[in-house]
């Protein structure tokens, strides 16, 4: 899986087509991958958990899970990996590619969908295609875990309110006492349709080699 040094060039070429990264970016990411995994071919959860900078992130478990989630790979299966190779790592990263001017309209929509799907998968922890209230609550709780004052109860209330918001925007004829089971992907897309994902959910991947900058981490 991991790119061995001899085949690396070929591997990179292959991945450029798959992920849309440039060769330099892939090289960079590969270096980072090796740094994270301690020069092993695969990456396990512990490796990611040990990143000091990530420790403060309230949703770090969700982020780490996302890397081991099979749904974020091309074949879109259910379940999760125990360890991932560089290719999987790259695939997950590719969700965060920024748009460029040249991106066509169809590509944009596809990328947007992909990003929304990524977010959706992050919340839909059991993979049943619905974000249930429980899952949503958990997500909000984690998000708010930093601000301790709000507490669990507040987080739940917010999740509830948010859930109802989804319900009311998507199922306008839902009676006040009908039960809304969970946010499907379509509904999820619907509530985020006005949000400009393309311009927000992206990371600048460095083109040049900045290994020396990274040593602090």
């Amino acid at each position: 899986m991991g790119a061995t040094q001899t085949h690396s060039e070929y591997q990179y070429e292959n991945m450029v087509g798959k992920t849309g990264f440039s060769t330099e970016q892939i090289k960079n990411l590969h270096m980072r991958f090796q740094q994270l995994s301690g020069n092993e071919k695969t990456l396990r959860r512990e490796h990611l958990k040990n990143i000091p900078a990530l420790a403060n992130n309230p949703i770090k478990t969700e982020i780490i899970e996302a890397f081991f989630d099979k749904r974020n790979q091309l074949d879109n299966e259910l379940g999760s990996y125990e360890e991932i190779g560089f290719e999987e790592f790259l695939m997950v990263m590719s969700h965060f590619r920024p748009l460029s001017i040249k991106t066509s309209e169809e590509e944009r929509t596809a990328m947007r969908r992909q990003k929304v799907r990524f977010l959706f998968n992050m919340h839909d922890t059991d993979g049943d295609g619905k974000i249930t209230l429980e899952e949503y609550r958990k997500a909000v709780e984690e998000l708010l875990s930093e601000s301790g004052t709000i507490g669990q109860e507040g987080a739940r209330a917010i999740a509830d309110a948010a859930m109802l918001e989804v319900a009311s925007t998507n199922v306008p004829n839902l009676g006040p006492d009908d039960f809304y089971e969970g946010i499907t992907f379509e509904h999820f897309e619907e509530i985020l349709k006005d949000l400009e994902m393309e311009s927000r959910m992206h990371v600048r991947f460095l083109d040049m080699n900045t290994a020396n900058l990274r040593c602090g981490k």
Binding site: N56, L119, A139, I158, L164, D177, D194, M201, V203
Partner: protein, 826 residues
């Protein structure tokens, strides 16, 4: 129905207009205070042509005779504030006028209309040989008119997009303005070398000075359009920031060139010093802004005992920042902007909700007045001032302004694009270039030119020409063009909880990914700042230093909004809102927003369904009550709520008709004596008002509540529940209590319907069972029943009746609630 709401809207806006006018009348007193000082010093000689011979002589001779004057008039004493007030009123009236038929302002920007009105007034003044007020002297403009505008811009700047694009904004602003000034200045200087144009006496410095004046963009009109069409955030913020900071840059450039223009000779050292000064001025402004911003924030920490003057600190500190910066001749615009940005975040958390509203309103109001006046005077002065028309110079100015702007955007974008993650495409660039309107700053600056400039009148004419050209031609055409070329658009403000949640999630996610990649991205720094902020700044500056997530604040905002709207719509009585607000303030419910939810929302189950926000709140209750959380503070809530509603019902009493009196009497009774007494009292009252219409309506499937206003209030509560019940009653017959039993067993229904309402999720889920997942349903059942234990004590039920009563008096609400109810069912 349609016409009805329309009518109501009309009256509403009419009332708002009236209030605004009154408000303005009251507040102009304040403005007078601010603005009289300068007019005193500057315009005394120009502004009073005739009062001297009419107003003054009259009182004095009579006094000499020793008799008490019965009627005296001393116009000259009040003349300046008086005329100033009239000017403001006139300008404000025209603003009202535009908005009566609001479609005008969609197609023609307000600034155009104001200039137009100004032109007309100027024409009238010109024909009667009246001189315009000399408000636009340098001092008046810089000390009194400019600060409010800039403060408003800084205070309402969208912070997040700004900091995400700060590099680009500064790049376009600083370099772009320099580029424009120097480019236009040099090319105009080249034009001046041609003898045919008769312009040889304009030297390079004066050309540069003039160019720096006209390169200040003032994109109010463009921003309005951008906001309306929902243009993408990046363009918006760049144009916004450009307008904001180009003021600063232009003012610096202006003072620099104005200084240079008066110098006989310039050597290279001066140029170098000029550049150094440029940075000193800019960075000094930033530092002063930070200093005063933090001071304001720190002060606001201690103002909770003096709420009345709380807003004042904000204005005083920002004005102080401005003045002190002015004192040291550093960029005062920069100082006040930075001050506003710095303090806003902390101040708004420290001050009370009402002070916060006051601050925002006053900031907006002052800025609007300033801006309105400037555009208005622009029109007036255009007619009344002395012009020097030189075809060549003016046309070339227009041409170069256009050319250099376009060229500048093209070149600067090429340079900045590789550094941006979202790059500007050609359409975006066109939007940026075309959004560069000239406006108030340019106009004011050119009028402050000293008399030492020998072609001053030509400069004035050219500036006015370019302002009018850009404001009219570009301002009017920008909307169709932008809509035609379909520039990338984005959402407007999305005030939903979900969007906030997911925006935050994305931010954390991206920050995490940045960390994973080991890069120091934008989000890394944001995160770092946030940590620093939480750890130090908030601790020092905030009274209540609970870190609050944006989700929570959004949630609270929506809550508050709903609460206010609820009160507004139901009572038609705004005065009810503050009382509740202050209650909430005192209770400090920040940590448990859910409670607030409960308190406010069961009140209005019906008339709010037509609005989206309402519906959310609505559902939320239904939802949260399903999975009810332990509810210990409920009794207190009820108490507060009851007090509020009693008060309101008493107030409302006065303009209610016959049945209403009945109601309010019983209201007091019910609210004071909850519990068992109620039930015995209810049927009595009910019978006395037995209305056939109710039956008819019920048989037609409409809940009884929809009957005329004579219907007594308590039935209203039932129907809140009943309206739900028919939905499931049609399918589910497990409940013995049907809505039709209201008439005779009202007490039963009353409690029964409540229970049914609460239990509702069970049948509902069952009904939908076939196409839904079953396991959820089971869980739901248990939860629904578990909820029952948390049913509120009966004593709180009459509360709803109170509210119903209020509603009964409000016939305006009835139709809409009825309609929404119907649509609800279908």
């Amino acid at each position: 129905m349609e016409r009805f709401t329309l009518l109501r809207m009309r009256t509403n806006s009419g009332v708002i207009c009236m209030i605004f006018v009154l408000f303005l009348c009251c507040t102009t007193g304040k403005c007078k205070l601010q603005e009289t000082k300068p007019t005193n010093s500057v315009s005394l000689d120009t502004v009073k042509p005739y009062p001297n011979d009419i107003g003054e002589p009259q009182p004095y001779p009579e006094e000499e005779k020793g008799k008490l004057p019965v009627f005296t008039m001393n116009y000259s004493r009040i003349q300046i504030p008086f005329e100033f007030t009239l000017w403001i009123l006139l300008a404000s009236f025209s603003k009202i006028g535009f908005h009566i038929y609001h479609k005008i302002t969609i197609w023609i920007p307000e600034s155009c209309l104001l200039i137009g009105i100004g032109l007309i007034v100027g024409g009238i003044m010109y024909s009667v040989k009246e001189e315009p007020p000399a408000v636009l002297s340098s001092d008046v403009f810089f000390l009194y008119m400019l600060p409010p505008i800039v403060l408003e811009n800084g205070y309402f700047m969208p912070t997040r997009p700004f900091f995400e694009n700060v590099g680009t904004v500064l790049w376009y602003t600083v370099v772009g303005t320099l580029w424009n000034s120097i480019g236009i200045g040099l090319s105009l200087f080249a034009i001046c070398q041609f003898e045919v144009f008769d312009l040889q006496d304009i030297n390079l410095q004066e050309n540069l000075l003039f160019a720096s004046i006209i390169s200040a963009v003032d994109p109010v009109a463009a921003l309005n359009v951008f906001e309306d069409v929902g243009i993408n955030e990046q363009i918006y913020i760049v144009i916004f920031g450009e307008g904001l900071f180009s003021d600063a840059v232009t003012v610096v450039l202006y003072s620099m060139f104005a200084f240079l223009a008066n110098m006989p000779a310039i050597d290279s050292e001066d140029v170098f010093l000029g550049v150094a000064r440029f940075f000193v001025v800019g960075i000094g402004g930033v530092l002063f802004g930070l200093l005063f911003g933090f001071m304001a924030a720190f002060t606001s920490r201690f103002t909770n005992r003096v709420r009345e003057i709380e807003p004042l600190f904000i204005f005083m500190f920002s004005y102080l920042a401005y003045l002190v910066a002015e004192l040291f001749a550093i960029s005062s615009v920069m100082a006040i902007i930075i001050c506003a940005i710095t303090m806003k975040y902390y101040v708004e958390e420290n001050v009370s909700q009402r002070s916060c509203t006051t601050i925002r309103h006053v900031v907006k109001m002052l800025a609007t007045i300033s801006e309105t006046l400037i555009f208005f005077f622009l029109g007036v002065v255009t007619i009344t001032t002395v012009h020097e028309w030189n075809w060549a110079y003016i046309l070339f100015t227009l041409l170069f302004a256009f050319l250099w702007r376009g060229l500048g955007i093209l070149v600067l974008t090429q340079i900045i694009n590789p550094f941006r993650t979202i790059q500007f495409n050609l359409k975006d660039q066109f939007g940026l270039a075309y959004g560069g309107l000239r406006g108030a700053i340019c106009f004011a600056l050119v009028f402050t030119l000293g008399d030492t400039i020998n072609r001053r009148n030509l400069f004035v004419t050219a500036s006015v020409a370019i302002i009018i050209f850009t404001v009219f031609i570009q301002g009017i055409s920008i909307r169709p063009i932008i809509e035609y070329i379909k520039i990338r658009k984005t959402n407007k403000d999305l005030n939903t909880i979900n969007v906030t949640i997911h925006t935050r999630t994305m931010e954390h996610l991206l920050c995490g990914i940045d960390d994973l990649c080991g890069q120091w991205g934008h989000y890394y720094w944001k995160d770092k700042f946030k940590r620093f902020n939480d750890r130090f700044l908030r601790r020092i500056l905030l009274r209540d230093r609970k870190a609050e997530s944006s989700i929570v604040s959004m949630y609270k905002k929506l809550e508050l909004q709903n609460a206010i709207e609820l009160l507004d719509t139901t009572m038609g009585d705004i005065s009810a809102a503050p009382s509740l607000l202050s209650l909430q303030d005192e209770k400090k419910e920040a940590s448990r927003p859910k409670k607030k939810f409960k308190a406010t929302d069961i009140k209005k189950m019906h008339d709010i369904l037509s609005k989206n926000m309402y519906r959310i709140r609505q559902r939320t209750t239904a939802f949260t009550s399903k999975h009810s959380l332990p509810d210990d503070s409920q009794t207190r809530e009820i108490l507060i709520r009851r007090h509020a509603s009693i008060r309101r019902s008493l107030r409302a009493e006065s303009f209610r008709e016959q049945p209403a009196q009945n109601i309010s009497k019983s209201l007091r009774y019910y609210s004071l004596q909850p519990g068992g007494n109620l039930d015995s009292a209810l049927p009595l009252r009910r019978r006395s008002h037995a209305i056939p219409e109710v039956d008819r309506l019920r048989s037609s499937g409409v809940s009884p509540r929809s009957s005329s206003r004579s219907l007594i209030p308590m039935s209203k509560l039932n129907t809140i529940e009943e309206r739900r019940s028919p939905v499931e009653a049609s399918v589910d017959s497990t409940h013995p209590l049907e809505p039709s039993s209201t008439e005779d067993h009202l007490d039963e229904v009353f409690t029964g319907s409540r229970v049914r309402g609460r239990r509702a999720p069970v049948p509902a889920a069952r009904r939908r069972g076939p196409n839904r997942v079953d396991e959820d349903e089971d869980e739901n059942v248990s939860e629904g029943q578990g909820e029952e234990r948390h049913l509120p004590p009966r004593g709180w039920a009459p509360e709803n009746r109170d509210l119903g009563a209020n509603e009964a008096g409000n016939s305006l609400l009835r139709p809409s609630s009825l309609r929404s109810q119907r649509s609800w069912k279908t």
